[in-house]
């Protein structure tokens, strides 16, 4: 460790794992949150309580559960995913999906009261109504994506357990920081920590500046 190529490799894997996990988590969490926020069905209150509880799930516990599922004698052992980047993605998906669902739920509920009647009176079908409210809630949802990304990229317990911190294979920034610190390489540990902070800053700035919104606006004008 300490060589720029190795550091870059660790950073690249961190970004790959986290981005993939947040993307998959968004595909699960955002529709689930919208469903919970905008529809009434039996068991909805229980489902909301479960989502909010899972938002605070300790990453180490997620790591243990995913580890047991993927271990040789676990129900998914035949997939041979333990100690691979895919296992780390699975653990992070479990971590971020409830966060994305919970924050989407809050965001759409806040907008539902305001926009639902207007959209209905303009003749929106139920699916158009949901899409309109989700669009109006986009700032809150993006904030959820940013929070989920920050949580996932800075997480260490679960990825350590299911990834194993194997050099050139499953070592990511957080597990590398622990390793470097234990070996007394404080400079490298701090360096990686600053890179983590920088990634978080760039990602959040990108969202806060509304770059995606501007891209959408330009696309509409074209």
């Amino acid at each position: 460790m300490g060589l720029p190529t190795e550091v870059l490799e660790v950073i690249w894997l961190s970004l790959q794992v986290t981005t993939t996990a947040v993307f998959i988590g968004a595909l699960i969490g955002i529709p689930a949150g919208a469903l919970l926020g905008l529809y009434s069905f039996p068991g909805r209150r229980l489902a909301v309580t479960i989502v909010y509880t899972l938002m605070g799930l300790p990453p180490v516990l997620i790591g243990v559960i995913v580890y047991l599922l993927l271990s040789k004698y676990g129900p998914l052992g035949s997939l041979e995913l333990l100690f691979t980047p895919e296992a780390m993605v699975i653990a992070q998906v479990v971590l971020v999906s409830p966060i994305l669902a919970g924050l989407t739920l809050s965001a759409v509920q806040a907008k539902e009261r305001t926009y639902s009647e207007t959209a209905k009176s303009l003749g929106a079908t139920p699916s158009q109504l949901v899409w309109t409210i989700v669009k109006e809630s986009r700032k809150g949802i993006w904030a959820g994506v940013a929070a989920a990304y920050g949580r996932a990229i800075s997480e260490v317990g679960a990825v350590m357990l299911v990834g194993g911190n194997i050099e050139h294979h499953t070592r990511v920034m957080t597990t590398a920081i622990i390793l470097e610190t234990r070996m007394g390489h404080y400079e490298t540990g701090l360096y990686l920590g600053l890179v983590l902070l920088l990634i978080s800053f760039v990602f959040n700035s990108f969202l806060m500046m509304g770059v995606l919104e501007q891209i959408n606006a330009k696309r509409r004008k074209m």
């Binding site: 009647e117 207007t118 959209a119 009176s121 303009l122 003749g123 109006e136 606006a217």
Partner: protein
Amino acid sequence: MPQLHLKHLHVAIEKKSILTIEQMSLACGKIYGIVGPSGSGKSTLLRVVNLLQKPLTGTMNYWGEEVDLASLSHAKALAIQRQMAFVAQQPVMFHTSVFDNVAMGLRYRKLDRKTIRERVSEALQLVDLADRIHQQAATLSGGEAQRVALARAIVLNPRLLLLDEPTASLDPANVSIFEQVIKGIHQQRGTTIMIVTHNLPQAKRLADHCLFVHKGRIVESADTSTFFDQPQSQELADFISGRMIY
């Protein structure tokens, strides 16, 4: 044949009766002024007609089609809602451009882009906001936003236009523009209009027929001149003269 006929309507919230109407008919192509004290049920009436609020009981005959308001299917409600348009007292603007706001209902109806562009431009010209087409709706003043809300409603070319105290928070200039547009739409398209207003001179200026709603009931209904000049009930006489305390 009336355009809209309500029967045996009863609206209650948490067992408290809000609105009870035995019979109410609207003729095609007229402007109806709905007046009455605050909390009398005027806005509830509009919301029920626009199918935004479900009553406990009641049927509505809309252009010959009779529906049970208490057990209306989504599809049927949507088909009726798409023949109406509603403008609320406080305009709700979507966080996008003025164009997209006005185009929203047309997009819901899946009209083609060219038609949407033409109709949105025409509607914005009517409310004198054609130069704001690309402006973000959130940056409009209250009066401009309300005019955009009116454009968003009239662009749908509704058979029935429902206006819930649309000018309550507007300055005189915006009120004047608003009223001119309403009159113009009514004359050109023959749109039936229901306007809830606290502004009695406005009801006199705009409405062909007025209804007085008090304590959740239609107390009096008459053509505008009779309504204001020869009120039949003591409540309406008190309301018009400003003696009614509520």
